[in-house]
């Protein structure tokens, strides 16, 4: 393993896990120090499978500073190897989503073989718009995400590293995600999980936790154990990530709807959501959204405010980011014994010990 | 009807009577409810020396336990006072003003003037001061001069159980911030105290003892030290007039000056350290306002300019005692040009 000289990029969003859901829904707080620790665990895993170069995003929130500090404090011979670490410090930091886009673009320009993004659904969405065909490994920093997985970073890093190094081929270790493309006015935005139409009038604090305001919901996938708005579909009409179809729901106040789903639409919030109707959402068929001056929420965050006369359309696309399937990669690694080696010589007794030590 | 109770009981009674009378009076402080493990409710300490004992049960929800967090809860008492409450906060030892002084002298003391006369801050900060319990340098100081220095604060220094009850009730009803300084060595002192509620007005000194030879102005616990000295001096023919100012801000200058104009001699007894204390302040007052009446230099009996020592051998030397007071009185009585 590890013959390739692979390069990986790691984008970590310092702002994730701080929004109003901490106040309205007891959502988790994910400390900066733990994000920095995750980056370091990834680096150790990458080095162990032969990744030679790691490109790290920079931020003013303390993640890149903590990693830099750790890098300087590493003791030669004592601490396990890391790839060569380079910081993508070429762009001014704005504190906004543009930082993630700039970092991903620089990583692609530097021929990254994999991009890891640490954050929530919002961070993954931004990274997905910029990563092109480079495999994406979205890791959740918190408990409130439908798209990125809550995964131990070392294990995820092994899987990502094996894909980056070419030890597991992309067709076995990654899968194409579907995305929801929304167009309105001159803007085109992507959602990885769901698009929701709300009668709220303002983007405001972005998060969405008021089911009474929701009128339509479109999900690229919907899992029964999901969190967020897609969990409504996940319980009523699940649609697996692997299926090309998504699902579309017409919502209504619970007392007026055919079904009422008690869904975890945010961490700590299990609320009744009324569903009038649902149907499969077929790929590549544009749908007009009935917005009427409301807002569109992408992956649970209000993103687009619409004027009363402004229309919006939505399309399910099957050409979303190529995402690393951690479980599939490591299953393949086990099948190929990529992480197993035998000692070169000597016979073995019944207990598995080498009978004689062949090495000198 | 008066009966004999302790200084501690007098303070407790004043609090209870005011809480009974006025629903806006609340009490807060460290260990008000502490001391019984979990809830503390069954055996509420009533503060570290038990001054508020019993109130926690008697006035549910109005006796608040606080974290050891003086800035926050003294500040909270001040903030609540601006919004219609009459909080009595207990700053366990006056020495701890060091961790919350900003809230007292930059906030409470300033509001009325700084906001153009539109604020009222009827807060009382009860605090214990003074040496004698072998509590050493950070738990024994007599820091009332520092508060006296600050315009906007009133400072009461009760010398007996009777004074404690009347001055505390007045403090609670007063519409300005009051620093109420209780001497920790007086808590078990007893005296006659009326059962009924009463107030002692601020800025009205008490002439504890009449005499024509020497005026002794004594603050807080020093009043009883002066009384002890006066008794001894009387037998040697020197009659001392003892003035207890009761409050150092406002200060009853009139009574002090009247007494000195009669006796022509002044000794000030102040447990505080000697620079910029009540002794220097009152000496300056008399030198300026009653110079013509003085027949001898003014004497000051104070603590030395040192931190309060721990060892009993040193602390006993630190605290002004009756002998030192008597010596000072004799020196001014016998002074000849």
């Amino acid at each position: 393993m590890g013959e390739s000289g692979a390069t990986v990029g790691i984008v970590a969003n310092p702002a994730s896990g701080r929004d109003i859901r901490r106040l309205v829904a007891k959502a988790s707080v994910f400390p900066t120090a733990e994000k920095a620790n995750m980056v370091q665990r990834l680096l150790s895993a990458f080095a162990s499978v032969g990744v030679e170069r790691a490109l790290l995003s920079t931020d003013l929130g303390g993640i890149s500073a903590a990693v830099l500090r750790a890098l300087r404090q590493r003791r030669s011979g004592r601490d396990g190897p890391w790839p060569d670490v380079e910081f993508c410090a070429g762009d001014p930091i704005t504190g906004g989503a543009g930082d993630t886009i700039n970092a991903v673009r620089r990583m692609r320009a530097a021929d990254a073989d994999l991009i890891v993004c640490l954050g929530g659904d919002g961070t993954a969405r931004v990274a997905a718009t910029a990563c092109g065909d480079v495999p994406l490994l979205p890791l959740s920093t918190g408990t409130n995400n439908a798209f990125p997985q809550l995964r131990e970073a070392t294990v995820a890093g092994l899987a990502g590293g094996l894909v980056a190094a070419g030890a597991v081929p992309p067709e076995r270790g990654t899968s194409r995600a579907s995305v929801l493309e929304v167009r309105t006015g001159g803007r085109t935005e992507l959602a990885l999980v769901d698009v929701c139409v709300s009668t709220e009038r303002h983007v405001g604090s972005r998060a969405l936790w008021q089911p009474a305001s929701l009128t339509e919901l479109y999900c690229a996938f919907a899992e029964p154990d999901g969190i967020g708005l897609s969990s409504v579909a996940g319980q009523l009409c699940p649609s697996p990530r692997t299926a090309p179809d998504g699902v579309a729901l017409a919502l209504a106040p619970p007392e007026q709807a055919r079904w009422v789903v008690h869904a975890p639409i945010a961490p700590g919030l299990v609320v009744p959501v009324g569903v009038r109707d649902w149907r499969p959402l077929r790929p590549d068929r544009p749908i007009e959204l009935g917005t009427r001056g409301g807002v569109l929420a992408l992956d649970g965050e209000r993103e687009l405010e619409l004027r009363g006369d402004q229309t919006a359309s939505l399309r399910l696309r099957t050409d979303g980011p190529r995402c690393v399937d951690v479980r599939a990669v490591l299953a393949e690694a086990a099948r190929l014994r990529l992480l197993c080696t035998g000692n070169p010589e000597g016979s073995v007794n019944d207990d598995g010990y080498l009978v004689h030590i062949g090495r000198t | 009807m008066a009966r004999t109770i302790s200084y501690r009981e007098a303070i407790n009674e004043a609090l209870a009577q005011e809480m009974e009378r006025d629903g806006s009076v609340i009490v807060m402080g460290e260990d008000n409810a502490g001391g019984a493990g979990g809830s503390g409710a069954e055996d509420a300490w009533g503060g570290v020396l038990g001054v508020t004992k019993g109130l926690y049960h008697r006035f549910p929800g109005r006796v608040l336990d606080t974290p050891i967090s003086e800035s926050a809860f003294v500040g909270a008492a001040i903030g609540a006072a601006t919004r219609g409450m009459r909080p009595v906060a207990e700053l366990m030892f006056i020495d701890f003003m060091g961790v919350c002084f900003d809230q007292i002298f930059n906030q409470a003391a300033k509001f009325r003037y700084m906001f153009g006369g539109k604020a009222q801050t009827p807060v009382v900060i009860r605090t214990m001061y003074g040496a004698g319990l072998r509590a050493a340098a950070q738990h024994s100081q007599a820091l009332y001069p520092i508060f006296t220095h600050i315009p906007g604060l009133k400072v009461a220094v009760p010398s007996s159980p009777y004074e404690a009850k009347g001055l505390l009730i007045q403090s609670i009803r007063d519409n300005d911030p009051v620093i109420f300084c209780e001497h920790k060595a007086l808590y078990d002192a007893t005296g006659d105290v009326p059962e009924d509620s009463y107030t002692i007005p601020f800025g009205e000194a008490n002439v504890v003892r009449d005499g024509d030879d020497v005026t002794v102005v004594a603050i807080g616990r020093m009043v009883s030290v002066a009384e002890e000295a006066a008794k001894a001096l009387s037998s040697s023919g020197i009659e001392v007039e003892i003035v207890d100012p009761r409050t150092t801000s406002p200060l009853d200058t009139e009574t002090i000056l009247e007494s000195v104009e009669n006796t022509g001699r002044l000794v000030v007894v102040d447990e505080a350290s000697p620079r910029c204390n009540l002794a220097t302040d009152i000496s300056a007052l008399v030198a300026r306002e009653a110079f013509g009446s003085l027949r001898a230099p003014v004497e000051m009996v104070t603590a030395p300019h040192t931190p309060v020592p721990f060892s009993d051998a040193l602390e006993d030397l630190y605290i002004p005692d009756a002998q030192r007071v008597a010596n000072a009185v004799k020196s001014v009585a016998e002074w000849k040009r």
Partner: protein, 331 residues
């Protein structure tokens, strides 16, 4: 099995409320820009710290408050005063040190207060306000008014013991208190990215057992929503919240500050992030308010500030008779 939720607070904003919010923000901006100009003439004495750029915070929070509620402010307090309803002309007169000022010329810019409006004063002491707000919240709780206390403080004050003690006490006593950390990036000239070891001030909330959230301080609606949820929660007995509002101040720490420590960011914020510009474009683009309505407000505000300055300049100063009054209620 389910929580019940009321509707979103931002939804409650009708056209009148939107116009009022705009008027408040515009008044703060116009007030501060005018003080900036007038200070340069040398006619305004003392220290003046301007709030321009931060209007959405005071406005978005105070829009939820009424006479039951009290706020404590900072040395950068003009915006909080205006948002809580303190008379603008009296404020201007106070800044000029006049007898007609909010504090009869005895307070000045750093101490403008109006307790009858629940405005507990701008405060010259960094970290002075949070303990006081624990007290106003305690009073509201004891009196059962349903009122809340709001402590505005800056990134500098977030490092003060008084602030941290107050966060703790507010949780221990479950007070209806809201702590609004206005992080404008600099404590005087020192960057908060250096001085605040926690990376985000909001992160500190976890250590005090309360929710901590970050909102975009240039976005009125974001502040309004977060504050609305926090205040509603506090009124209902849910306890305190820490809200970190992130933005940039447009002027220096004090008037006269050369601001050698920062350059580009102010111009960029004014151009691209400005709360008034964003508010205006959003309410007009979504058809909720007409340009003409907003322009009319601009004119009215401008007239008000002109009159405030003229009256302040013409007003008498306090006299010797005022020197020793109002130290005590009685003495």
């Amino acid at each position: 099995m389910t929580d019940t939720l009321s509707t979103s607070v931002a939804h409650e904003l009708d056209e009148n409320a939107l116009l009022q919010a705009y008027r408040t923000m515009r008044t703060i901006r116009a007030f501060e820009e005018r003080v900036h100009e007038e200070f340069a003439t040398g006619e305004i004495p003392g220290f003046v710290h301007l709030y321009a750029g931060e209007e959405a915070s005071a406005t978005g929070v105070c829009a939820h408050l009424d006479e039951r509620d009290a706020i404590a402010s900072t040395h950068r307090g003009h915006g909080h005063c205006i948002a809580k309803g303190v008379d603008v002309k009296a404020m201007m007169a106070e800044i000029y040190g006049k007898k007609t000022g909010s504090c009869q010329g005895k307070g000045g810019s750093m101490h403008i207060a109006d307790l009858s409006k629940g405005m507990l004063g701008a405060n010259g002491i960094v970290g002075g306000g949070p303990p006081l707000i624990c007290g106003t919240a305690l009073a509201a709780k004891q009196q059962g008014t349903g009122g809340v206390g709001v402590a505005f403080f800056g990134d500098g004050a977030s490092n003060q013991g008084t602030t941290l003690e107050s966060l703790n006490l507010a949780s221990v006593w479950n007070l209806p208190a809201i702590f609004v950390a206005e992080n404008n990036g600099y404590a005087e000239a020192t960057a908060s990215t250096w001085s605040v070891a926690a990376d985000n001030i909001a992160d500190r909330a976890a250590g005090f057992g309360m929710p901590g959230v970050i909102v975009d301080g240039f976005d009125f609606f974001a502040v309004y929503e977060a504050a609305g949820e926090a205040i509603r929660r506090a009124r209902e007995g849910g306890g305190p919240t820490l809200i970190e509002v992130k933005f940039t101040r447009y002027f220096g720490h004090f008037e006269g500050d050369q601001q050698t420590y920062r350059a580009q960011e102010v111009a960029e914020a004014r151009e691209n992030l400005d709360c008034l510009k964003r508010f205006r474009s959003r309410v007009t683009e979504t058809g909720r308010l007409e340009e003409a309505d907003l322009t009319a407000v601009d004119t009215q505000v401008s007239d008000l500030i002109d009159a405030a300055v003229d009256e302040a300049k013409a007003a008498p100063k306090p006299t010797e008779a005022d020197l020793a009054t109002d130290v005590y209620v009685s003495y």
